[in-house]
Symmetry: C2
């Protein structure tokens, strides 16, 4: 038997249900479901997604059987409605709408009022008792059909309409009466014939097939293609088409149309929430031509609206609607977003779907529904999108606050902050130490600015993209950041910046919004009104459920006590990546670091390192205290040494003077250390192979600190020493022995015994491939997926802005591989390393500490590979906890099915 | 039964033979073999390499059974020689020498004259009738033993000897008589007791065990460890020890010692060649204290030497020796390097081994031996080390020429060349065009200098290592190059350079020797006398045999007609890599290239590209003509665009003026295009994704040229278009369609049909992993192992000098991975890609075009993976042909065994 392409719904008999979403699309499945529930759905039928695919497979011709099935469905629809296509006295009019498996709002085409021609328009006028309504509908249909189906240019029709109004000195469309519309319709039809070479089709069947073809075609239109790529919707899914009898909310004062949510989508409060318009079509609510009114009386009173609410104006219909939304919510067990139309006192349900909501609302609704017994805690966890928590965790600008925007840029790191403008990182650090809230404004940032970035409440740069140094570091630190504000020109000499003619001076108060407003990060004048994050209540309950579900541990990437405190408050279970180099940039240490780099003998180097040692030890004492027995993975020095040296001749001169060295010698060393490709240069454990003293000092500092904290608190710290940029077993073995010797010495001197681990980053393809051997020397692997992505794809993150966006736009890459792990490439290397590593050492601990550690898709990937933990920046810890729970639940699902 | 540790040889009964090299070491196996052949070998025994390993496994204690076996072997030796350890009248004296599987000349220790003490020295004196000889031998033994076995400092013994001479007013050691040596011996023994706390051991058994332990120990001494690492000799091989009865070439005028080659090791001529000394020990020949004499009369007469040759002085012994060398060569079927001693008229053979020889000699000997019926052509092919051909292919400085060295540097690219000094690449190009031979001298080179480097006969830089830009490019072009000549200071303003106080001016004639003299590349004053390469005769015959054996095709990396001509002369079977960017740097085109880069619209860019098109087409016409129907792989534009732009403000200003653009706009574009890690930047096919016009122009130029040559010559060119830096199937598909469209248009316009291939470089780990998908879009893969090594190991070749040497020295890497492929890392990716690619497309053509294409070990690796071809720089083509034959034979061997 041939495949069935058409499923009817409504009017007493319905073929599909909500479970058939893949075949009927979201809208079609829900219409069927509502019809089955006995809700008043205008009858119609759905042409399946399979028909769409068959249409394309068949070279854009109707697949066999479709025409017959549609004809039968039309006949059935005529029977259900008692109306007929082309019947001059009681014409059947339908809408033809797309409806894919996944929502793709506005991406595909729709035709309304299909079935109108000169005869049926007259019939509709008679039946509605409203000639103007009928001919307005007719001209709308011609316009829409000409554009969508006949693919004619908009402009000509607008010109006709505008010309008519001008000639007749009318101001707006509402001034045009029935005879006016009739005249316009004549002109429209003439234009169609001129432009297309054919008269406008009067036959409703012909109109219907034209509409169906147009909707199928629109599945492949450019904006749908782009949308699918952006949202990872496979082309092979196809779209369904819903052909549904028209109902009219604009048939007079007993007609209305509206949209509503079963709970408040903004706060999550359990109260009916929606808007409606009397004597209006659905588009009018959406298009904003007329201002819709609240549905409930309570809402109307709250808003001080004078017009009657629906509850008051149409109490009976309102009671029906109330009954229906209760049934829908009880049925779907989720907050519903519904569309309805009242045609001459009759309520029709046009759509229901799970409603979009804010992060705050999603938490509240989920928790409330558990309390109401509607859903389980596991379902509640799945109801909250991990990525949406980003909104909640950072302070944000109050939605009520009126923004005075100075300049816009990229929303590079979320959250908002208020502070005084500074241009110099040292000044930022100084002022912050004195308790001032400052915002660092720079052309671009470099690793030397880290201390200033950390001291600042937020960062603004005039150059660089979403993956620039400033953006990456700011996200890591949880500082709001606006990057690439190209209209902003900094004049450091004058101590000011200029943007669109406005001058902002050093010390002026500004607010930075890194979360983005319509896709733009903003810099605002003055101090905005803020909304703080809330970690208790609904949030805490959902996170508690998530923690009980997830199997992956969640650690944090943190190196300062402040960051670590935030991360622990957010539920981090330890440190997954403590970058020791950030500690080297501190102003009070950089001199000794530079002295170490410039040392010409081992003795000189050891001497310089001995000056850094006490600082490093103090850093680790503080960190171990805060960790309070939780594990802490500390990565030894990683960046190339030239990052610690000045670059310009002026900076070199200044540094040379302060270090009392020959400026020429300093410049020569700087030049000697400069690299063509620093990412692939003299860094990571390569430094320790050349200068073992550096890692020896760091290891000593760590173990002296651990011993001190163990003695002081009685809680044994759990240091995990991580060796970066390893490419072979021998290399790790050589570096490991440096660390072990220092650990032995430091612990023996302190008289403390302390278990510790030594492991490595897997961040080079070679390390992933040789993981079996490397695991012989490593207690743990931490996947450094940032660098692994750079090397596997051959993409420098600092330079990727030139082409990565283009790649994602063109669908050559599904996602930015620095945001979500490239499972097919980088992911295979991670998998190879995990398998080979565990084969060689079954108890090998596996984690991830690249930025992917905070990305939900990447977390699911880590879960599937059986990793032990993910580590992410402090502000992403709750996201990771929730995403890990999602991953655990989605892994559980197949076994339940 | 316990393992046997000791094997006797000589004196009528011999346990081992030449096949037991692994167990007995090279020297021991050959001594046994000679003894079995009935040659007069002083008897002795070999302690096996297994004993050495057992000694180390046993914590440096004698393994069980060794002591008994050695005792039995000593007793047998006493029986064979009729002498006894410690016998005052007829003492047994032995040498104790190391002998590993692979030759490690001078790396391990030796003890001679072992068995001497006060009594046996007297006995030796009586027996030899020469007291001075006996006591000189005794003191030498004490000195050697104290150093090697007792590990005492040299200095004290030298001080005693010098002190004695001073006191007695003697000028040289030869002035010391027997009583003098006796006195010195007393002082030596006193010093031994003082320094070691023990008297010098008089017991020969104790001496023997001391010697054996010392030789075993020396397997692990630092210089042996380094040597093993450098020559890839596993530590686990261990060394054998040969204990052999001493014979003395210094027992008067009927005694002699000598070394000889069965054929001339320098020319390969089939004539006996060697040197000897009457009344001397082996060391004297080697040490160069006395000048050895020719062995044959013919050689003596040639040299005009007045002293008698061995042939004349000892005709009987000479006849014996002649007979022996003939037998040895016939037996080993290879040229032998032999050592012999004549003790009072008795000839003894001390060693035979395959003789080292020059490349020229190795070719001649191999060919002659085939003609003589001694070996097969296959054996002849294996006799020639592919790497050694490097000497032959480049012109070299005549060994007779007296060098006037101006400065030394790294021998970065082999060969020698003469030319006039220029400092500016443009000037180099200009002068070369006028037929001048020039040598480009630069501080360092950059891609902008390519045209000048190509125009120059040789290149000298004062900075940069073996993997610097100058070195890599020069090797690729086959230009001799000396890099990192740090003593050379260029003063371009004055038009001169200074080195060690000597001034060399622009236009002065110099000679560059990039092959290396004692490890140093040299710059010589004036024009040296040169020796040209010879591609006919023996070379041609060996290469012909190699070609009939090898299965891998050999192509070349070439982009200029000159390079291609050389490569074809050297036997290249096509082009494996034609880098089109080199064509862009040409002075007459760079303006249009820059205009293209600075274009602000597609139209401007297309316009600029249309100016480049005729040049590109001409390039390809010339190349296709030369290829004469051979395949030519052409890589489309690869480097980041900023490589084509000026960098310094001055250069920007000059270029802006010539292009008539705003210097600020140019600088801004330069800055915008600059990259932090250009290796991982906006390059390769990423350029074509952003600017499809570029590849379209290049493809058009290629196919227009191909069509033109097809029409002109009637021979159909075989273009193979190669897309660089691909990381995914989609990317390749997108670029492929650009090329196909251009090909279609160009061929249709010319009315020519032409088959062509489109393939990709596999040079990113992701491409290797996704090779299955990528093969769906590719007719061929070419492994770009340079970039694949950079990304897989995370090592930038430009920056690697800072640590790669250290890694190789410390054994963390076996070889420089840019010279010989890293089989365990990069190699696995190549294997994965080859397997996945062939699985998806069985006829997929596979090749390699990184620098590894010319490295024999890497070629063997490619052969094992079943690649179709290797491609290398022109001067390495013969090396690759021969190495491919070696690889084919070594693959054949197991199946024959």
């Amino acid at each position: 038997m041939a495949e069935r392409f058409v499923y009817g719904f409504g009017g007493g008999s319905t073929d599909g249900d909500a479970a058939m979403r893949d075949l009927l699309g979201g809208k079609g499945a829900n219409l069927a479901e509502m019809a089955k529930l006995g809700l008043p759905v205008p009858p119609g039928f759905t042409i399946t997604t399979a028909a769409c695919n068959a249409y394309y497979a068949n070279g854009r011709e109707w697949p066999e059987g479709l025409e017959e099935e549609v004809a039968r469905a039309v006949a059935e629809l005529e029977a259900k409605t008692g109306k007929r296509f082309g019947d001059a006295s009681n014409p059947l009019l339908v809408s033809v709408r797309s409806g894919a498996r996944a929502s793709m709002p506005g991406m595909m085409d729709t035709v309304l009022n299909l079935g109108l021609n000169d005869e049926t328009a007259a019939g509709l006028a008679a039946k509605a008792g409203d000639e103007r309504f009928a001919y307005d509908s007719y001209r709308r249909f011609i316009q829409m059909y000409s554009h969508v189906v006949l693919e004619l240019d908009h402009g000509a029709f607008e010109a006709i309409l505008e010309g008519y109004k001008e000639e007749n000195e009318l101001r707006s469309d509402t001034d045009i009466d029935a005879s006016g519309w009739k005249e316009i319709i004549k002109a429209y039809k003439k234009e169609v014939e001129r432009a297309s070479g054919h008269p406008f089709p009067a036959n409703p069947e012909e109109q219907l097939w034209g509409g169906v073809a147009a909707v199928f075609r629109s599945w492949m239109n450019p904006r749908a293609n782009v949308y699918r790529k952006l949202h990872n919707i496979p082309e092979a899914w196809g779209t369904a088409i819903n052909v549904q009898a028209m109902v009219f909310g604009n048939m007079g004062e007993t007609s209305a149309t509206g949209v509503a949510f079963t709970r408040d989508p903004s706060t999550g409060a359990n109260r009916f929430y929606g808007e409606f318009l009397i004597n209006a079509q659905g588009e009018d609510v959406v298009a904003g031509i007329r201002t819709p009114r609240p549905i409930t009386r309570a809402a109307r009173e709250e808003m001080g609206d004078k017009h009657l609410s629906m509850e008051e104006a149409m109490p009976e219909v309102f009671a029906q609607l109330t009954e229906m939304y209760r049934r829908l919510e009880a049925h779907y067990c989720d907050m519903q977003d519904i569309e309805f139309t009242v045609e001459q006192g009759m309520l029709y349900m046009l759509q229901t779907r799970n409603g979009k909501r804010t992060a705050k609302a999603s938490l509240k609704i989920a928790v409330d529904m558990v309390d109401e017994g509607l859903i389980t805690p596991e379902q509640a966890v799945l109801r909250v999108d991990p990525a949406s928590l980003d909104q909640l965790l950072h302070p944000t600008i109050s939605p009520k606050f009126k923004r005075d925007v100075i300049v816009q840029g990229l929303p590079a790191s979320p959250g908002a902050a208020i502070g005084r403008v500074v241009f110099d990182p040292d000044e930022a650090a100084d002022l912050a130490q004195r308790g001032e809230a400052v915002i660092l404004v720079r052309t671009e940032t470099s690793p030397e600015d880290i201390h200033g970035m950390h001291a600042a409440r937020a960062i603004v740069t005039s150059r660089g993209g979403m993956t620039s140094h400033a953006a990456v570091v700011a996200r890591g630190m949880g500082r709001p950041c606006v990057c690439g504000a190209t209209d902003l020109r900094i004049d450091e000499a004058q101590g000011q910046f200029v943007a669109s003619g406005r001058v902002v001076r050093r010390g002026d108060l500004i607010t930075v919004d890194g979360s983005g407003q319509k896709g733009w990060g903003q810099v605002l004048a003055g101090a905005a009104e803020m909304v703080q994050h809330e970690l208790s209540g609904d949030f805490a309950r959902v996170m508690e459920w998530a923690d009980s579900i997830r199997k992956l541990q969640v650690r944090t990437n943190a190196e300062t006590p402040d960051d670590l405190k935030v991360a622990l408050e957010f539920g981090a279970e330890g440190i997954g990546l403590c970058r020791t180099e950030h500690m080297f940039f501190n102003a009070s240490r950089i001199a000794a670091v530079r002295e170490m780099i410039l040392a010409e003998s081992v003795a000189d180097r050891v001497n310089a390192l001995s000056k850094i040692l006490p600082f490093q030890r103090e850093d680790f004492v503080e960190i171990f205290r805060l960790l309070d027995g939780r594990p802490g993975t500390i990565r030894l020095l990683d960046p190339p040494l030239h990052e610690f040296l000045p670059h310009s001749p002026e900076e070199c001169a200044a540094v040379a003077a302060s270090l009392k060295v020959d400026p020429k010698a300093l410049q020569a060393r700087v030049k000697e250390l400069m690299e063509v490709n620093p990412m692939l240069g003299f860094r990571g454990c390569r430094l320790a192979i050349a200068y073992p003293e550096i890692y020896a000092m760091q290891a000593r500092a760590i173990f002296e600190a651990a011993a001190e904290v163990a003695k002081e608190t009685g809680v044994i710290p759990k240091p995990e020493i991580m060796i970066p940029f390893v490419m072979s077993r021998k290399e790790l073995a050589a570096v490991r022995s440096i660390v072990e010797e220092a650990a032995r010495d430091a612990l023996a001197a302190a008289g403390v015994e302390l278990p510790y681990l030594i492991g490595t980053m897997i961040e080079l393809p070679r390390a992933a491939l040789r993981a079996g051997e490397i695991a012989e020397e490593a207690h743990f692997f931490s996947f450094g997926t940032n660098d692994l992505t750079q090397t596997t794809l051959g993409v420098s993150r600092d330079d990727a802005a030139k082409f990565l966006g283009l790649y994602v736009d063109r669908g050559l890459l599904e996602r930015d591989p620095f945001v979500s792990i490239d499972a097919a490439g980088v992911g295979e290397l991670v998998q190879i390393a995990a398998e080979r590593g565990r084969l060689a050492r079954s108890e090998l601990k596996l984690g991830i500490c690249g930025e992917h550690g905070g990305d939900p898709d990447s977390i699911a990937f880590c879960m599937r590979l059986g990793l032990d933990y993910v580590s992410c920046s402090p502000f992403r810890v709750p996201i990771a906890r929730l995403a890990a729970a999602h991953a655990a639940l989605s892994e559980k699902r197949p076994s339940l099915a």
